[in-house]
């Protein structure tokens, strides 16, 4: 089912989409969480449950709106019996479903083949309603969203910036999927800046920092993200080819950072 040649890589964020967009349309308005998110793994931590196959990851899907309506993502909860000395445990974020993805790298240079199977746990109508609510919420703000350093150095995210952050997570996952190879993986390290364009869409300009493994480099990317409920999320991006220099990571000054977003658009 899954073949990886080359050095074993650690279980970082890896591509989760099929090559076929049609498979994705039902989920185009949903946000998925990072794989192996520690508090999602609470669900599978009870000793009796078997672990998923080494590369197929259990994926938990959320709607964008659910991601935002939840008070705190830092909460920890478990369905397993635990020793009496515990923190209080607010509820887990609700999920729209869960997905299992398999990624097949072949010896030829082509992109990997990704297969994804999802199970809905939420009514699609409900998902749509939540998305619409989110859309309205963002559109009815008095000022366009502008922010920096999300989360900040201390891991804190301003509640008002959570919608923008959640969208950045979604858009970044697309970028990271495209950039990932058998030996290079990514995480979203930080949203460095966000600026909202005011029009009929939900549209944001982002600068995001990606953490690249195993190189450990911090890659700066510019991302333009457009969303309308019921439509595929549009992502255009441009990543600096080398480190930006003294700003992010330890690289030297790069001349290639000037960024007109081009090409690399995607609907998903």
């Amino acid at each position: 089912m899954l073949n990886r040649s080359g050095p074993k890589t650690q279980p970082w964020g890896t591509p989760l989409l099929t090559g076929h967009q049609s498979d994705l349309t039902p989920f185009t308005t949903t946000l998925w969480a990072q794989p192996s998110n520690h508090f999602f793994t609470q669900r599978s931590v009870c000793p009796s449950k078997p672990r998923a196959a080494s590369f197929g990851r259990r994926m938990l899907w959320e709607t964008l709106s659910k991601a935002l309506l939840k008070p705190s993502h830092q909460s920890i909860s478990s369905a397993c019996p635990l020793p009496p000395l515990r923190l209080s445990t607010p509820a887990l974020p609700e999920n729209a479903g869960s997905c299992l993805a398999t990624v097949l790298y072949r010896r030829t240079k082509s992109s990997p083949v990704v297969n994804i199977k999802c199970m809905h746990t939420k009514d699609q109508k409900q998902v749509q309603e939540e998305d619409n609510r989110l859309y309205q919420k963002i559109r009815h703000q008095t000022k366009p969203i502008i922010g920096n350093n999300i989360p900040d150095s201390y891991g804190h995210i301003e509640p008002a910036l959570e919608p923008a952050w959640a969208l950045a997570v979604t858009g970044s996952s697309y970028m990271m999927w495209e950039k990932s190879t058998e030996s290079l993986g990514y995480f979203l390290a930080q949203v460095k800046s966000v600026k909202q364009w005011v029009n009929d869409f939900i549209e944001f300009d982002y600068t995001v920092l990606l953490h690249e493994v195993p190189t450990q480099e911090i890659i700066s990317c510019h991302m333009r993200l457009t969303w309308l409920p019921g439509h595929p999320l549009k992502v255009k991006y441009f990543c600096a080819s080398e480190n930006q220099g003294l700003e992010d990571g330890s690289g030297m000054e790069s001349g290639s950072a000037a960024g007109i977003l081009h090409g690399k658009g995607a609907n998903f």
Partner: protein
């Protein structure tokens, strides 16, 4: 009372509605009925806009009054003309407000007076951590001492806390945190571990039994230059801050600078890379200091180097696929340690050798320590698995430290039970 008024003033000032530049607070203590009357009359002079912080009460009771700048001259003249003496309590109210505002903002990071008032659930500056260390030693001089094992490139002291119940050159456990400066949950956990050792060294039977036979060395800020840099310039800084000849790039990856497979695959020869191994092994004073310490001590039995993130417990090797001779034992101990860790909050860890679990990495810390004969050499990668990554929310510091401590105790106990 004054505090309340000052606060109100501060709020007003912050709201931008009023400024108190040049305002002074005068204190008058009426010592005669005439004086008292004169002062009481002042309350009626509305045009002076006097603000009585302490209203006239009687003879001998101080009267404090805030005087707006324009009224200062006339009021002082009036008082002097009437032989009423006064003193200036506050020369410039606005200055004081500004100062207090600054202190309020700094409030949560104020220097604690004891390690009991230290906030373990927040991230701290280098100074605050160094202060914490001194406090801990001062409060527990029979258990804790502070050693300086060297200086960083930028001449910051490299401090190690030693926890010992006595003896001479006892077999020891070494723990370091913060070797990669951006991995903030590790330094924060190190601080928590230090306090926990002090709290538990008698009543926790496992810890007590370890300390009966062994010393614990804890280096909390293993890369202070990098740490300072993450606070002031670049939160994502990983390496040291040493200048590299022939390059404008700065810093060496301290976890590629050790003399184990140095310069091989799994590190970069490019000074601009985040995994640059440096010009030669132990080129970094932060690394050399530990190397010297370990060699001079000669009796370290367990060595744990702590990183984040990924939720992994790793043992050597990273630089080669050849398994270590003690692979089986290390694997079993890791399983136990991870089980202990998970038991607290259900946090999921994977474990194995570096090269098979994470990736090939040469010149790494625990590859070197293992080759020195320190069998129980481990590396942790703490929370999380990428959602927040390096920017782990502060409220996860304590849970992370708590669960990790359980794993550390398993490792320490195992080392203690296998002393020969």
């Amino acid at each position: 009372m004054r505090g309340l008024v000052l606060l109100a003033a501060l709020v007003a000032a912050a709201a931008g509605t009023e400024t108190f530049v040049g305002h002074q607070v005068l204190r008058i203590i009426p010592t005669s009925d005439e004086e008292l009357q004169k002062v009481q009359e002042l309350q009626d002079l509305e045009e002076l806009q006097l603000d009585f912080w302490l209203a006239p009460r009687g003879l001998g009771h101080p009267v404090d009054v805030r005087v707006p700048f324009p009224s200062l001259q006339p009021l002082k003249a009036h008082l002097e003309a009437n032989g009423v003496s006064y003193s200036i309590m506050i020369e410039d109210v606005q200055e004081l407000l500004d100062q207090e505002q600054m202190e309020m903002l700094r409030g949560r990071r104020q220097m604690p007076i004891t390690t009991n008032t230290f906030n373990y659930a927040s991230y701290h500056s280098l100074d605050e951590i160094y202060t914490f260390m001194d406090l801990l030693v001062a409060e527990n001089p029979n258990l804790v001492s502070k050693l300086e094992i060297g200086r960083s490139t930028e001449n910051r002291p490299l401090y190690v806390l030693k926890f010992s119940k006595g003896g001479t050159n006892r077999p020891a456990v070494w723990i370091d945190t913060g070797i990669h400066s951006r991995e903030w949950v590790t330094q924060a956990s190190g601080v928590w571990f230090a306090k926990q050792i002090v709290l538990d060294h008698e009543n926790d039977k496992d810890l007590a039994s370890v300390l009966d036979k062994m010393d614990i060395f804890l280096e909390i800020v293993t890369n202070p230059d990098g740490f300072a840099f993450t606070q002031t310039q670049n939160r994502m800084w990983r390496k040291t801050r040493s200048k590299q000849s022939g390059s404008i790039c700065v810093g060496v990856d301290p976890n590629r600078n050790w003399d184990a497979g140095f310069g091989g695959s799994g590190a970069s020869g490019n000074p601009c890379s985040e995994t640059y191994h440096g010009p030669y092994a132990n080129s970094e004073p932060e690394v050399k200091a530990i190397v010297d310490f370990v060699k001079n001590h000669g009796n370290i039995k367990a060595f744990v180097s702590i990183h984040s993130y990924s939720q992994l417990l790793l043992y050597p090797y990273g630089y080669t696929r050849t398994p270590v001779p003690d692979q089986k034992e290390l694997h079993e101990v890791s399983a136990k340690a991870v089980a202990a860790l998970s038991s607290l909050y259900g946090t999921n860890y994977k474990y194995g050798s570096i090269i098979t679990t994470i990736y090939q990495a040469s010149g790494g810390t625990i590859d070197w320590t293992y080759n020195q004969g320190i069998k129980y050499s481990f590396t942790f990668e703490l929370r999380d698995t990428g959602r927040y990554g390096f920017l782990l929310p502060a409220k996860q510091i304590v849970p992370t430290a708590q669960e990790t401590w359980l794993a550390l105790k398993v490792l320490m106990l195992h080392a203690r039970d296998h002393l020969n």
